[in-house]
Symmetry: C2
Subunit: 307 residues, 2 copies
DNA sequence: ATGAGGGCATAAGCTGGTCTTATGAGCGAG
DNA sequence: CTCGCTCATAAGACCAGCTTATGCCCTCAT
């Protein structure tokens, strides 16, 4: 439903109401450098082009963004706010780019990473951005699949470094824990659980039908193990995104990684329900073939993930 | 530094490597509808245009995104991953749009909202999206400022509903708590604190110079109160974004709302340091002039924020 | 079997936006 | 007073992406 309505709201298309990425980057440059001309130089266009671009952006948004003066340009109050929203769009685009770049360099690249879906979707783009910042020349490729697939790719030499999120380490691989991820119970804000005062007991959770990923997914494994194999599905969906959308629309409670619902929680499209009597932690691990300690770029990436 | 390097990495400009918003929306439509033609119809272009757009996107990314067949198109594995990254970009753009729209409708609009900076930046766009989904015709305007400014706007009748994040409710206003926000201590992953095993004592926190917002900001108030006015600044910056950037670059530890660092924590550009012996909770409140209970769209918005 | 319908691809031509170059004008510092 | 920085405006070139008009492929129903 949230999906459908977002769709509808978007009828006259976002792209017509939101400036394009180049314009947003230009705005960020103006904010940072304090001058249209300097910003233009940075993004590699001429000053008049920058001037016109900013102006048409202001026309499009119906708000003055910068105060122009003969000695530079500063953001207006509204401009500062818009710039922060723009920054979020640009950051998402940078993550997109980092991911896509890794996907493109599939063959013959220097560092081939295999990762489980959740990690590939939510964490890797950020790591790749950081890696790219430190070692701009490293070409990284990305293969995504479940734990078994990751293990296969590593053992067959088709990948150099893997990331898995299951409970166990596939045999033949060495691993190190790089982060702990907590699964949390979430509902739409309208759900009765969102109003309860007492924390939820594990038994209640086990008895309630939930919106879940399919059996065999990393998330489902952890939940089943924590509840003793009892998790009762209300709906089973095959992608994290679909589960989220379903939960947001109010179809029922769900259990998801806190990694993937950060935005939804902040925006209060979902609320987190405290649970007691059950440990929903899981480890995220970097893995590699036993004996083949990561070296070079793989080692670099690994150190970035652990900080 | 992260800033500067992102800059550098972006030299050949993101906009040239990331498809524009229209293309990303089209991709999402294809994913959802399973056909290029249907997706084209939904976004209001012809089928050949959609075909060409997707194709040039595949060329740009160097990856096949959809499997075309005479009976429809499905995403490839890589396409599914790319679509999820695209979705995040589009969501950020939708938040941008919701915010910008509210900023534009400054005058003569039906619902005028005044909010503190943090709330305006991180929460309001999401709420406005939700409000727009339920009441597409409501024009909302947004004014941002600190608590005092919000109070003024409400009392002078220039705003209908306010949101503040301080410890106290400005006099003359009624309030209701809509959410609890936790301040958390964060450092770059490389900082020594990121490796400590013991939780941090309040005294240690008070004795360590921190990267902070300026005195008078909501965040700083809460921290000063919690530590007994002792917070020691390493650097004082005037925007949350600047504080974040500084912390990410490793300049030192900082204390920030968990709202604003969700992404950074997920991407492990920052890590959270547990603290004991000090309560860093703060309430986010909706406020209105005493006696003037919110009605109509204001009431609607309020109910969305509380779920 | 055979035609209708939905799916996608290709080709040709037009349109519009956005860039560049060239120039002018305001303000401040030496 | 003039140099150097800022921004604005004007005119023309260019290119990306759209539409319209086709054609082929496959499936399903008659």
């Amino acid at each position: 439903m949230a999906e459908a309505e977002a769709q509808h709201a978007r009828a006259a298309s976002l792209a017509h109401r939101v400036p394009d990425l180049a314009a947003l980057e230009l705005l960020l440059a103006v904010a940072r450098l304090g001058s249209l001309g300097a910003a233009a130089r940075e993004v590699g266009i001429t000053q008049p082009a920058a001037s016109s671009r900013i102006r048409s952006m202001e026309r499009q948004l119906g708000v003055a963004l910068v105060d122009r003066s003969p000695r530079g340009s500063r953001l207006t109050d509204a401009g500062a706010l818009v710039t922060d929203w723009a920054r979020r769009v640009v950051e998402a685009a940078a993550a997109f780019d980092a991911g896509a770049r890794a996907l493109r360099d599939r063959r013959d690249s220097r560092l081939r990473v295999a990762a489980s879906m959740t990690i590939a979707e939510y964490l890797l783009p950020g790591w790749l951005l950081a890696l790219h910042a430190e070692r701009p020349d490293t070409a990284v490729s990305l293969l995504a699949g479940n734990s078994t697939k990751v293990a296969e790719l590593l053992l067959s030499g088709e990948a150099d470094l893997g990331f898995v999120e299951g409970l166990t380490v596939p045999s033949g691989l060495d691993a190190t824990v790089i982060a702990r991820d907590r699964l949390i119970v979430v509902t739409a804000p309208g759900h009765p659980w969102a109003r309860r005062r007492r924390t939820l007991a594990a038994r209640e959770l086990a008895e309630t039908p939930l919106i879940l990923r399919e059996r065999g997914s990393g998330t489902r494994q952890v939940l089943d193990a924590a509840l003793g194999g009892l998790a009762r599905p209300l709906i089973e969906l095959s992608s994290t995104t679909a589960v989220k959308a379903s939960a947001v629309s109010g179809a029922g409670p769900s259990v998801l990684s806190e990694l993937v619902v950060g935005e939804e929680l902040a925006m209060r499209r979902l609320v987190s329900i405290p649970v007691e009597g059950v440990s929903l932690q899981r480890e995220l691990r970097a893995v590699w073939p036993t004996g083949h300690r990561p070296t070079g770029p793989a080692r670099e990436l690994l150190s970035l993930t652990r900080g």
